[in-house]
């Protein structure tokens, strides 16, 4: 996307009071240094390379893409886990990238994160109760010991666990229950935005649906806005209002759920969708599958022009020369492809 385009896009959404988060021209480069006594900066991993999008209050924005596409980095950039290389992250009217660490810490009350691996994201030496209660203590959100205990017990109930479980340690819970603890911890500070980074992909299929239903119920109950990062397109379709598709650090397509799934325009989106297995042999055998050749190229040296051209089944000459513009196709549908 060019500067001019995103400026237009930004203006268009800034008049919209419903926008909770606006990301403009976000870049996150991780330096690669040479080995040796005096390391030199030799290259950059362009994990996120100039992306812009917005999230409306109360909606769920799905972010899909394969490993290494930068979807997790986008989530972490929003949380200001990294010092972003360039760009703006405007949340409730404030550019988070410009906040001092102290102010950002207070701001984190408003945006929280849920992680993929419920085994490594909970401190094994803390009880469930103290894991959930920690953010309440840090942000001084309880008026006393009694209030603190009440809040923790209420949170356990809200995520479908039993209040008596607060004295148990993470290893005493199943994967699905641990993910519930992670959700309760995120809810503890009453945030408006929760970034869910692959929240169900480590769980058994039968448990995934439980957690997805819970996330949807909580969204309604607490007016939450979600950014739902995942690689499973069927799950993303289920939970999202709009979906962004990422490839090698760029957003290649963004649209409402219905638009994207019924009318995917980018060849990468199409290939991704055709690769999602459907649990029905009859449907599967009749389905045309676009099998992409090769692997995702290295984000240190992304291909010239359109980054997808090396794997694209419909690439033409212009594709390896010019980076396609991110174009508005109408009806909230944007795509970056020369062939559309």
């Amino acid at each position: 996307m060019t500067q001019a385009d995103s400026a237009v896009a930004a203006e268009a959404v800034n008049v919209d009071d419903d926008t909770l988060l606006q990301v403009n021209n976000l870049k996150m480069y991780f330096p690669v240094n040479s080995r040796g006594i005096i390391p030199r900066h030799v290259a950059d991993v362009k994990a996120v390379d100039d992306i812009s999008f917005f999230v409306r209050k109360g909606e769920t924005l799905g972010v899909v893409g394969e490993s290494g596409c930068g979807k997790t980095t986008v989530g972490r950039c929003i949380m200001q886990v990294y010092d972003i290389t360039e760009g703006e992250v405007i949340f409730e009217g404030t550019d988070l990238a410009k906040l001092s660490p102290g102010r950002m810490r207070r701001m984190r009350r408003r945006l929280q994160m849920i992680f993929q691996d419920p085994y490594s994201s909970l401190n094994p030496r803390m009880t469930a109760g103290s894991i959930i209660g920690e953010p309440i203590r840090i942000h001084n959100m309880a008026s006393g010991r009694g209030d603190y205990v009440d809040q923790v017990e209420e949170l356990l109930r809200v995520v479908g666990l039993n209040p008596y479980m607060r004295d148990r340690y993470p290893h005493e819970f199943s994967g699905g229950q641990r993910q519930r603890i992670g959700i309760a911890r995120a809810l503890a500070v009453r945030p408006s935005l929760i970034i869910c980074d692959e929240p169900v992909s480590a769980l058994d299929v039968s448990i995934q649906a439980q957690v997805i239903n819970l996330l949807e119920e909580l969204q309604e109950q607490f007016d939450l806005t979600y950014i739902f990062i995942a690689h499973d397109l069927s799950v993303v379709r289920h939970i999202s209002d709009r979906v962004a598709v990422m490839y090698l650090g760029k957003i290649v397509e963004i649209a409402t759920r219905e638009e994207l799934y019924e009318n995917p325009l980018h060849p990468y989106t199409r290939a991704l969708m055709s690769a999602v297995p459907i649990p029905d042999p009859t449907v599967e055998r009749q389905r045309e599958r676009i099998v992409l050749t090769g692997d995702v190229p290295s984000p240190i040296r992304p291909p010239s022009g359109c980054r997808f051209h090396t794997r694209c089944p419909i690439a033409i000459d212009i594709c390896n020369q010019e980076d396609p513009e991110f174009r508005d196709m109408g009806g909230d549908h944007w795509v970056a492809c020369h062939r559309v």
Binding site: G176, V205, Q208, R237, V276, V291
Partner: protein, 341 residues
């Protein structure tokens, strides 16, 4: 294999029981599992963590770690020869040559300090008695066969120089190097991205068709096997709870667990549902299984009898090849919805 028909059994597992003795108690990982794999067939074994799907395969491969893990009963006939009664020496001869296994995590199953070439030629030299040069030629062919571009020139590379999808291709090349009768793939695509997943599955299907290798695909994702498997075994808490031809299992599942698995996942080809239908409750604790049917605590169809006796694994009424272990005829229960239909 001119005389071989699709009725020839490559593998016959009979009443396999494998347990793990831990300080916390006995884990009944595999509890009386029987299934066959015929020549040229792709069998999908589906179940969630703790269902015993992988331990069954590891038992057949004789890879259950002592002293905690013990194969306590049963037979695993590979071309009629019982893997479970073989001497260690014979197991080493058979493993790799007649039966091979590939694992979920291609990073940890390759040796990081040996070249890809060496890891491939080792089996060829040991099992087929090839010379270094012959083996290295064949290794190059194998890499090209599994679709590694310029495979010959990559024999001197180390695993870290390959991407995840390429490493899984190398694993498949290793698995197939001695043209085994049976290839067991344990979650072969779980660690891979969907576009790479599709490549790997297409590759396994092609090799199954071209070389006639029988394949067992172990997975927790029903979708993965829908396109490729001829036969499906669904496992829960150490037992097979339903089995049959793939079409029947997906179209007309009769065990409540299979039905639950199919209806709990959102499907891209169907209209979006307002709410998903999860299987309630938690995966079973293998140290502490409930009496009667293990699925009873999570089963929406359970009746009193389910708590008393484990149901027999029997032919589903009106079919000749679909079996289930369930007291309830789900088609007779009002409000029952058969799977995803």
């Amino acid at each position: 294999m001119a005389t071989e028909t699709s009725q020839t059994k490559v593998l016959e597992i009979k009443d396999l029981v494998t347990r793990f003795y831990t300080t916390d108690g006995i884990v009944k990982a595999v509890d009386g599992v029987s299934y066959d794999v015929h020549a040229g067939e792709i069998v999908g074994v589906v179940g969630e963590s703790g269902s015993g799907k992988s331990v069954t395969a590891l038992s057949v491969m004789r890879l259950i770690p002592p002293p905690g893990g013990r194969i306590e009963a049963g037979e695993a006939l590979l071309d009629g020869e019982d893997m479970l009664k073989m001497s260690e020496e014979r197991v080493l001869e058979v493993r790799g040559a007649k039966i091979a296994m590939i694992f979920q995590e291609p990073m940890t199953s390759l040796n990081p300090v040996l070249t890809i070439g060496r890891q491939l030629t080792e089996a060829l030299e040991t099992h087929l008695g090839m010379s270094r040069e012959q083996a290295s030629n064949r290794a190059g062919d194998l890499l090209e066969m599994v679709g590694i571009p310029d495979g010959r020139n990559r024999l001197s590379d180390y695993p870290h120089q390959f991407s995840g999808g390429m490493r899984q291709r190398v694993m498949i090349a290793m698995g197939l190097s001695c043209e085994p009768r049976l290839l067991i793939a344990d979650e072969p695509t779980t660690a891979l991205d969907v576009t790479i997943q599709a490549q790997i599955l297409e590759l396994m299907q092609r090799l199954n068709e071209e070389l006639g290798t029988a394949v067992i695909i172990i997975t927790h994702n029903l979708g993965v096997v829908a396109r490729y498997a001829h036969w499906i075994n669904v496992m829960y808490a150490g037992k097979i709870v339903e089995s049959g031809p793939a079409e029947k299992i997906f179209k007309d599942p009769r065990h409540p667990y299979t039905i639950g698995l199919l209806s709990s996942v959102p499907r891209l080809d169907e209209p979006r549902r307002a709410k998903l239908d999860p299987i309630e409750g938690m995966p079973p604790d293998l140290m502490n299984l409930p009496g009667g049917c293990s699925f009873r605590p999570r089963c929406p169809f359970a009746i009193d009898r389910c708590a008393e006796e484990y149901p027999p694994f029997e032919l589903v009424d009106g079919t000749t090849d679909q079996h289930k272990a369930c007291w309830v005829d789900v088609t007779q229960v009002s409000g029952a919805h058969a799977g995803s239909n």
